[in-house]
Symmetry: C2
Subunit: 330 residues, 2 copies
């Protein structure tokens, strides 16, 4: 059990100070300081995760910490920003355990190192209700070059990185769904899909490529269909997507062969943390070539058009709009 | 009642986008961007408030929003930083009400305007448990000039701004304490003290003065005794304070005349949001003169010394250390 006589300062000193990085003054101050590189803007994003909503209470603490950072870095990547640092606020439950917090902090430090984004500060509170963690991450882009999500133009190509739908299936598997298909999925597939949900991977290597090649970008956190619809609405354009072009992994493909309706889950489920972007046609070849050099697949799946600001998904004779189906953490 | 079919995007568009400021792109993107002024560092601080811990669930929503921003700006002021912008994460309870959120957002916008610190972005989640709000605020200081809290030296003068202990008494009055003194406090005093708890005032005007005149500074959020002890511990010095010099308001003085033990509450209670600083003796006159020009009292109350890293408070024959007494939100 945790030593209840220890306060916030001791917790910070024991668990978080050892994983703090440059700019955080060893967490001995109540603020951090940094300067963006010469000629760069600071890009800021904030995302909170709540136990039981965004992750399972019994997920490994290190995985929760890593995911909390990863979802913020995914936003930075989509904006074309290189990570610079982050601050964290978290609320410990009344019955928090020392070992749990040690694992959480260790996972946070590991993630900060692998992503090159140092912990700079934060705040720890005790609160009734579920554990939550809120991270604000800072990145940098050359001045004025942040990539927006509301700037797609008719004629741009809809592109998406990696594969779509793995995490949505992983969530079902992780959550203990008992539908027949879940019993038939092979161990290999089960691990791959679950891991996409538990350990989302921010596409940091894409950031500089997006700055050069695309007109608009956002990360896919609430499902491809819903996020594309959002980009359409905010940009004042529509989009037509060829469902047969949407990239899916071998594991997800195996699952949907077992149970075809899963395809809709894959298109509308959340937590992909891939990058959705609007690419001017003249930049498409360069974008694909650049992505090849970093070993990440980028796939054109349709185009933006004038007219009704909705996203329409077509496959042979089927036309889907998924308007009510998108996942929302809210 | 809130329209449950509306998602996070509608809530942001309806309530928060209207109060967003420069750098926030009207909250239409999932990140904000800004540049610190030429030759400046970015200073970052994060503080979370939880309903029932840091404020009363039935406090006015506008006051809760303002306090959430104010406590962060208080940290920036103590670091010598001018506010630049902030992002907010908040968790709405299952039974959140439209009018409550409208008032909260209105109060947030008002506070952002009066403090000159625009809302740039954030995240809204739904969660079981009490309402909470986490703000990360950004300020700027000339490069390398952030004022630290761990840099006091033996020989420096202990100074504190404004008056100490009002909010601690205000918390008792606001919380419905029924001790005899609470019945005898006049209406005028009751209002003043309660308001210091509900509407803390960040000492933003002090920021540029602190940068020029003091060696170390922090805001007094967990009580003067505890925060001074923290500054001592982090700086590796001790401090001697003359209790008769600690500045108290007319209202607090009236209360402690009614019930003398309240003085210890005033010295150890939290939420003052005054500035505690370590001033080199040769800078003291200039510091006091500068503070006079902004209409804020700064009071020398003791000095830092070598030896045991504790804060000792003396008054005639009494010597107090308040070691276990300090308030902790944690």
């Amino acid at each position: 059990m945790a030593d209840r006589t220890r306060g916030e300062d001791a917790i910070i000193a024991d668990y978080f100070a050892p994983v703090a990085g440059e700019g955080g003054f060893g967490l001995r101050d109540d603020a951090a300081a940094f300067s963006p590189a010469e000629g760069c803007d600071v890009v800021v994003t904030a995302d909170a995760l709540v136990s039981g909503v965004h992750f399972f209470p019994d997920d490994p603490p290190a995985a929760i910490a890593r995911k909390a950072l990863a979802v913020n870095l995914s936003d930075l990547a989509a904006k074309g920003a290189n990570p610079r640092g982050f601050v964290i606020s978290l609320a410990l439950e009344d019955d928090w355990r020392e070992e749990w917090l040690a694992e959480f902090a260790g996972g946070l430090g590991y993630a900060a190192r692998i992503y090159g984004c140092p912990l700079m500060g934060g705040d720890t509170v005790r609160a009734a209700g579920p554990f939550w963690v809120s991270i604000t991450a800072f990145g940098e882009v050359p001045k004025g070059r942040m990539v927006h999500r509301f700037s797609a133009l008719a004629g741009d190509i809809v592109c998406v990185s990696g594969t779509i739908g793995d995490a949505a299936l992983g969530l079902k598997l992780r959550g203990g769904a008992t539908a027949p298909w879940t019993m038939k999925v092979g161990l290999e597939q089960r691990v791959v899909l679950t891991d996409r949900f538990v350990h989302p991977q921010p596409r940091l290597a894409l950031a500089p490529i997006l700055r050069e090649r695309v007109r608009a970008a956002m990360d896919v956190s609430d499902g491809l269909a819903g996020d594309l619809a959002k980009m359409c609405r905010l940009s004042g354009v529509g989009a037509d997507v060829d469902l047969s072009l949407v990239p899916v992994s071998v594991a997800a493909d195996a699952a949907r062969r077992l149970h075809p309706p899963l395809f809709d889950v894959m298109m509308t489920g959340g937590d992909d943390y891939e990058i959705l972007c609007a690419t001017p046609p003249e930049n498409l070849d360069a974008l694909l070539a650049d992505c090849e050099t970093i070993g990440l697949r980028m796939t054109p799946i349709g185009h933006f058009r004038q007219g009704e600001c909705t996203a329409i998904f077509r496959d042979d004779d089927v036309e889907k709009r998924y308007e009510k189906a998108s996942f929302s953490h809210f």
